[in-house]
């Protein structure tokens, strides 16, 4: 029998477990940051943390408040210019996993973090790409963390900031290969309800349902008819060790996990 846990905690733990076997990870703030640090303490002890601000081998002594927190610098292995980080690390193909979030995602894992509505006259102006478009193109694998809702899991995104599997796996693979992209595209979408991987057609497929979540909830928070794995399983609940690490070490004030 397991302890109670929040949806955020489940997302963090699920994302951390997906990092098993990975070596170099481009970290974002918030949930991805906690997930990566949890993975380093559990399934991926050799994980190297890279921050787009120009840090390789970070050892944050506290939960970073932004992607440029001074705690990611002190005690890091290397601090470099952003030209170098983007050119020699990301574009050179040294990053195994990049984390992305977005305001909108479609069934092929294409992401929008630029605008809701028309670009020239937006309903909502979002932050824009930052490094997202180049992470989507040049990180070997992309992990997406997003909460499900029909506003964000949409049939058609309003702006393609970060390419995923484009119109489908076959096309995406051909374009990625011909264009010399380092990235193989999105490999997982971790949501508050479950874990999605991508099938042969390049579409999201629900492989795990988080404990307590239902397929009805999944269908009600997604704008297309989702593919469900025939061998759908329940995500193993966070272990006591995982929860303790998150609650006591990684986010003791519960900024991201409440």
């Amino acid at each position: 029998m397991s302890e109670p846990f929040s949806k955020s905690e489940m997302m963090i733990v699920a994302a951390a477990r997906e990092l098993a076997g990975q070596h170099v990870c481009f970290v974002g703030v918030g949930l991805p940051n906690i997930a990566v640090n949890l993975a380093k303490r559990t399934v991926a002890p050799d994980l190297e943390l890279v921050y787009e601000a120009g840090v390789f081998g970070a050892r944050p002594a506290r939960l970073p408040l932004s992607i440029g927190d001074p705690t990611i610098v002190t005690g890091a292995t290397a601090v470099v210019s952003m030209f170098e980080l983007f050119a020699f690390y990301l574009q050179r193909g040294l990053i195994d996993v990049g984390f992305l979030g977005a305001a909108q995602i479609d069934r092929f894992g294409n992401l929008n973090s630029t605008v809701i509505g028309d670009y020239a006259a937006p309903k909502t102006r979002l932050p824009g790409s930052g490094g997202a478009c180049e992470i989507a193109i040049n990180a070997r694998n992309v992990f997406v963390i997003m909460r499900q809702s029909t506003r964000s899991f949409v049939e058609r995104i309003d702006f393609r900031t970060s390419p995923g599997n484009l119109g489908g796996a076959e096309q995406a693979e051909a374009i990625r290969r011909a264009g010399g992209w380092n990235g193989r595209g999105p490999s997982v979408v971790v949501t508050d309800l479950g874990i999605w991987h991508f099938d042969e057609a390049g579409e999201m497929r629900l492989d795990f349902l988080h404990p307590g979540a239902t397929l009805d909830e999944v269908r009600a928070t997604i704008a297309w008819e989702p593919r469900i794995s025939p061998s759908l399983a329940t995500t193993p609940a966070p272990t006591a060790v995982e929860l303790r690490l998150v609650r006591e070490e990684l986010d003791p004030e519960g900024v991201y996990t409440k």
């Binding site: 408040l65 932004s66 702006f159 992209w181």
Partner: protein
């Protein structure tokens, strides 16, 4: 004081001109708030503001009415939310009959590549980005370019050469030789790309301090027009080794900036009604300043050798 040392008031008055393209760079670290506030205070107008992450400082400057255009790659209050004053100048529902802010948008690497092309005096910089995204449609300055060695096509961005670049740093000598440690962002590239450069520092040091560790120098005095000594000039952002990010301020800004009146009241209280950074630091109070002080983590020393 010898060399290029100037007051913030004089440096901004002399070197920032209405209509200029101004880059205040510093990625989360060393953000030039003191300089930005002085630009607001001097009521500069029609600026094109360039910055990878506009951050609170450009939200405040744009609220202060100094800009007609923004060139950027990520528009947010990091770790908190949106930049509300800027959004009010972009989203038609909020702009209404007002003047919308012109925008020119890239990705992070695109902005870095633009400054790099500017610093290297290149007509363009190639990069493996933008493939299959809508960004080249949104910004026609992002253009495909074919390799002369294969059929391969990548993208190019044009050089960005600001009229003036302003950076904040830990220390410089009176000639503007500037050293930074911690995150370096794209300050070097933005400074070399610019026609004029202002360096704002926490501490003015003797030339001998700089010359003792020449590999630490990020900006040579050669390209610096003015050195402004302004302790805590990067608050509420941070200076590695000197003070921490004042996160409370980033959180507080969100509700303030959602309301135009509150935003203008804040500008009056913290910018227009103060005569400079020293007054701002006084008003902030010694307790709050002291709470941002980190512990010590020395780099250690290396030996360059005395060769004679």
């Amino acid at each position: 004081m010898p060399g290029k040392v100037a007051t913030m008031r004089d440096a901004v008055a002399d070197l920032v001109r209405d209509g200029d393209t101004v880059a205040i760079e510093g990625f989360t670290h060393l953000i030039g708030f003191a300089a930005g506030h002085e630009i607001i205070r001097q009521r500069k107008r029609d600026l094109t503001l360039a910055r990878m992450t506009p951050d609170l400082i450009y939200d405040q400057m744009i609220a202060g009415g100094v800009a007609r255009k923004l060139i950027f790659s990520w528009l947010g209050n990091p770790g908190v939310g949106g930049l509300n004053a800027i959004r009010r100048r972009i989203e038609p529902a909020a702009v209404g009959d007002g003047t919308p802010l012109e925008i020119e948008e890239y990705s992070h690497f695109g902005m870095v590549a633009r400054y790099t092309a500017g610093a290297a005096n290149l007509p363009f910089m190639p990069l493996r980005s933008y493939f299959e995204t809508d960004l080249p449609k949104a910004n026609p300055l992002i253009r495909p370019i074919r390799s002369p060695y294969s059929d391969e096509t990548v993208y190019a961005v044009p050089p960005l050469n600001p009229d003036v670049t302003i950076i904040h740093a830990q220390r410089a000598d009176a000639n503007g030789n500037t050293q930074i440690w911690g995150l370096l962002g794209c300050q070097k590239e933005a400074a070399f790309a610019a026609d004029r450069a202002i360096v704002v520092v926490e501490e003015l040091v003797d030339e001998a301090v700089i010359r003792a560790d020449p590999n630490r120098t990020v900006i040579p005095g050669l390209i610096v027009d003015a050195v402004v000594v302004q302790p805590y000039g990067a608050h509420p952002s941070y200076v590695q080794g000197a003070y921490d990010r004042d996160n409370r301020f980033y959180l507080d800004w969100d509700p303030i900036s959602r309301d135009e009146e509150k935003t203008q009241a804040w500008l009056r209280e913290w910018v227009y009604d103060l005569d400079g950074r020293a007054a701002y630091v006084d008003k902030l109070g010694t307790e709050r300043i002291a709470s941002l002080r980190p512990g010590s983590a020395p780099s250690g020393s290396v030996d360059y050798g005395d060769y004679r």
